[in-house]
């Protein structure tokens, strides 16, 4: 598994972009469109790693300069939104539904005066991206997890192996292994047999 020497294009891509050189794929993988990288600015040696059999389509990877996203083997991510300024790890065989949001940072300062300055500075840059001005806490999603559509996973959360996150749940704290959580904020509603 090697990173490419230069950005490359995908076949039959509807978006006129490229795949960055620090994207590291263990073929075979499915990578649908370079639209996924329109807000990606990772300068890490590997900014996105996809294990064998992983799929990523219609997903936005809003990855900051120090961010890394790791997808395990056969992990399936479709139409998600990932904001990553430290690390977002998605385990092997984990399935993620549409419009799921995973964020390891709020990115902007909570202080109003500092946020105003960040927005004003962003308006002076050509690509309008916001500087990283909040503490990031890695998100770790274990193997064999199933996340229902439109769920939100907040910074610092760890989801244990085998868990199920109900559709539209908002996960604000860690989820123990083999647990089913649902609700906003999410609570454990069931424990699965192992």
């Amino acid at each position: 598994m090697n990173a490419a020497a230069a950005p490359w294009t995908l076949p039959d891509d509807w978006y006129p972009g490229t795949v960055p050189s620090n994207v590291c794929l263990s073929e075979p993988v499915y990578l649908g469109t370079s639209y996924s990288f329109h807000a990606y600015r990772s300068g890490a040696s590997v900014g996105l790693r996809m294990g064998r059999g992983a799929s990523l389509d219609k997903t936005v990877l809003d990855v900051g300069p120090a961010g890394r996203v790791i997808l395990g083997e056969c992990a399936f991510v479709s139409s998600a939104r990932i904001m990553c300024d430290s690390e977002v790890e998605i385990g092997d065989f984990t399935l993620i539904g549409w419009s799921v949001v995973i964020m390891d940072s709020y990115r902007v300062p909570k202080d109003v005066a500092m946020r105003r300055q960040a927005l004003e500075r962003s308006a002076m840059t050509p690509d309008r991206q916001l500087e990283i001005a909040a503490e990031a806490r890695p998100v770790r999603i274990g193997r064999n997890v199933w996340i229902g559509f439109e769920a939100v996973i907040l910074p610092g959360v760890t989801i244990g192996e085998g868990g199920v996150i109900g559709a539209r749940s908002v996960v604000v704290e860690n989820v123990p292994p083999f647990s089913v959580v649902a609700g906003n904020p999410a609570r454990v509603v069931r424990v699965l047999p192992r």
Partner: protein, 195 residues
């Protein structure tokens, strides 16, 4: 990484905007790339002006779904990504407001609550309508004051006023007013702290 070159070709220029949309200096609307889909696909407002956008705004992949009477105002230095603005009346967004992915702001119910009226409205919306007028439905302005942060996957319903500096956590469903500087979370959204 820079998306500058490819990105700028996907921005709406002022001459491409509908005539009743006013956009201030250094504001950007993107979203030209979505196949068969764009920010003004469901823009039907006849108001003069219908949309007023301030300066220095970044409006990325936004949808203006607006009825004939609708008006949307957005202040200066707002940063909005992939949000849905559904308006039949008025949505007012202040300065320095941030709105995350897949968030919906709506100032109307779009259909009547009464079951009998809803049948009439379903017919009026159908191909059988033949010009039959639609039944009325509830609408109340939505007001987002300055410095509000709204996370991704949030829903904000009609008649809500969000006070300045409030922080709406991701995934919240906001059905009533939020006091200034409050931090809210949940469905329905509850105050969980202060900023």
């Amino acid at each position: 990484m820079s998306r500058t070159a490819e990105h700028q070709s996907l921005c709406w220029t002022p001459d491409q905007l509908p005539p009743n949309v006013r956009m201030g200096a250094n504001s950007v609307i993107t979203g030209n790339y979505l196949p068969g889909d764009h920010p003004f696909k469901r823009f039907r407002s006849r108001r003069q002006p219908a949309i007023v956008i301030g300066e220095g705004c970044m409006l990325n992949g936004l949808y203006f779904n607006m009825g004939e009477e609708a008006r949307i105002e957005i202040g200066n230095y707002c940063h909005i990504s992939e949000a849905f603005l559904l308006s039949e009346l008025q949505i007012q967004i202040g300065n320095y407001v941030m709105v995350g992915w897949h968030t919906t702001l709506t100032d109307a119910d779009f259909h009547p609550v009464s079951p009998d009226d809803r049948i009439l409205d379903a017919i009026a919306c159908s191909p059988l309508a033949h010009g039959q007028p639609r039944t009325g439905f509830a609408r109340k302005p939505v007001i987002i004051e300055d410095d509000v942060w709204i996370g991704p996957n949030v829903t904000i319903l009609k008649g809500v006023r969000i006070g300045e500096g409030a922080f709406i956590e991701p995934g919240s469903v906001v059905v009533r007013d939020v006091p200034p500087h409050a931090r809210v979370l949940g469905n329905p959204a509850q105050v969980i702290g202060e900023i």
